[in-house]
Structures are given as structure tokens and as C-alpha cells.
């Protein structure tokens, strides 16, 4: 299950909307071992594409080192799909390399309604999990 504050949920949605039609991406950092997202870290999509995302490698180094220094981990890794559903693609599954993270997928394919779903991806297996937004 993913428990996420309204504030963080809305920041992810706003980021996805702002970058549409390119895919948006980022991280929610939280204290190591607590499974609690606390800090919003939007990332540059170095691919700047409507169908692909990749963290800029230098930016990723900086963010990962900062999390290490703060004793945090990437609790959530999020990205958006801009024309397809908020479900992990084969590419998403093949490239998921953080076994401890919740993978949040957002879809901005509809102008009015943003889809927001969360998954665990382990050894090529996708398991959807419920999302609880805490007001």
C-alpha cells in the first residue's frame, strides 16, 4: 500500500500536468526504512520525450548522494504517461531497478482527469497496490 499526503500527491499531479505532453519524472524521498514519503524531488527528464523518461545522470548522482547524507531513500519513483494508461509498460518493468521503491504512474491522457496509481515492481513482476491519500 502507498500512503501519501494530499500535498505530495497534488505536487506530482501538477508536475505531470506542467510537463505534458512530455513525460514528467521524479522521486519522493523519505527516512530510510520508514516507507513514508516526505520530500518532493522533481527530476529533469533528460529524454524530454512524450514516450520516454530518463533521469539526468549528474542530477541523479546529486540527489542520491543527498538522500544518503540525510539517511533517506527513494520511497517513490514517479513518472507520467501522456497518451496511455497509468500502468507500467514493458519498458518500465524492464528498467525498474529500485526494489524498495513504490513506482507511481500518472496519466495525463485525459485533459480533465489525472490517473494516479502505484505499483511494486520486483523481478519483472508488477503488483498494483492501493493508494491512500491522507488529507
Amino acid at each position: 500500500m502507498l500512503e501519501i499526503s494530499r500535498g505530495l500527491h497534488d505536487k506530482i499531479v501538477a508536475h505531470a500536468r506542467a510537463d505534458h505532453p512530455d513525460e514528467a519524472c521524479g522521486v519522493l524521498a523519505g527516512p530510510a526504512g520508514a516507507d513514508r514519503p516526505e520530500r518532493f524531488v522533481p527530476m529533469t527528464n533528460a529524454a524530454r520525450s512524450p514516450t520516454f523518461y530518463e533521469f539526468d545522470s549528474t542530477e541523479q548522482f546529486r540527489v542520491w548522494r543527498e538522500m544518503d547524507e540525510r539517511d533517506e531513500e527513494p520511497v517513490v519513483i514517479y513518472h507520467s504517461h501522456t497518451a496511455t494508461e497509468a500502468y507500467p509498460s514493458r519498458t518500465d518493468i524492464a528498467l525498474a531497478m529500485e526494489p524498495g521503491s513504490h513506482y507511481v504512474l500518472v496519466s495525463t491522457r485525459d485533459e480533465e482527469k489525472t490517473e494516479f496509481r502505484s505499483y511494486r515492481i520486483l523481478d519483472g513482476q508488477v503488483t498494483e497496490e492501493p493508494v491512500t491519500v491522507v488529507e
Binding site: E23, C25, V27, M43, A47, S49, T51, F52, Y53, E54, F55, S57, T58, Q60, F61, W64, I77, H79, H81, T82, A83, T84, P88, S89, R90, T91, D92, L95, A96, M97, E98, P99, G100
Partner: protein, 94 residues
């Protein structure tokens, strides 16, 4: 001559769970070969026929080695090599 190599979670199966291992060599390529002699299979996760694998980031101290000399990047005693899997994906089938 000791080079500290930081290992991401997903590759710690090769290091018996260690977050950090030590290697020796005068280039990044040599250090990875040295590590592979004690942690068999690790090098294959980082390198393929053409050099560093596409979705693996390797840094020498603060710099992505793709901006240096890749596997030929010289290393010296006290340097830190960090490996991070790239975070990537998307709707596109690659």
C-alpha cells in the same frame, strides 16, 4: 592502492550484501575486472561488448565517467567509484 566502489541495492547479491567493496587498478576497466575476480558476474551487469551498459551510471568521485574516458578513465588511490542504475522508462517500447 584502494579504490572504494559503492554498490547499489540491486547489485548487492554479488557482494554478499555489501554496500561498498574495494578494488585496485589504474583505470576503471581494471578496477571492474579486479572486482569481478572476487564477485563473479558483477562486471557483466555493468559492461557489455560495447563498453558500459546503457542504463548503468558509473561515477568517478562526482563525475559520470561517460563525460570522462569511460572504462579507460584513470583512477588513483583514494578515489571513489559509485554505481547507480539509471532511472528510466516510459510508454515507448525499447
Amino acid at each position: 592502492m584502494a579504490i572504494e566502489v559503492r554498490i547499489p541495492t540491486i547489485l548487492r547479491t554479488y557482494t554478499d550484501g555489501a554496500k561498498q567493496v574495494e578494488g585496485t587498478g589504474s583505470t576503471l576497466g581494471e578496477v571492474l575486472a579486479d572486482l569481478d575476480s572476487r564477485h563473479g558476474g558483477l562486471r557483466d551487469r555493468l559492461v557489455d561488448g560495447g563498453g558500459l551498459r546503457r542504463f548503468v551510471n558509473v561515477y568517478l568521485n562526482d563525475e559520470d565517467v561517460r563525460f570522462l574516458d569511460g572504462l579507460d578513465t584513470p583512477v588513483k588511490d583514494g578515489d571513489t567509484v559509485t554505481v547507480l542504475p539509471a532511472v528510466a522508462g516510459g510508454a515507448l517500447f525499447i
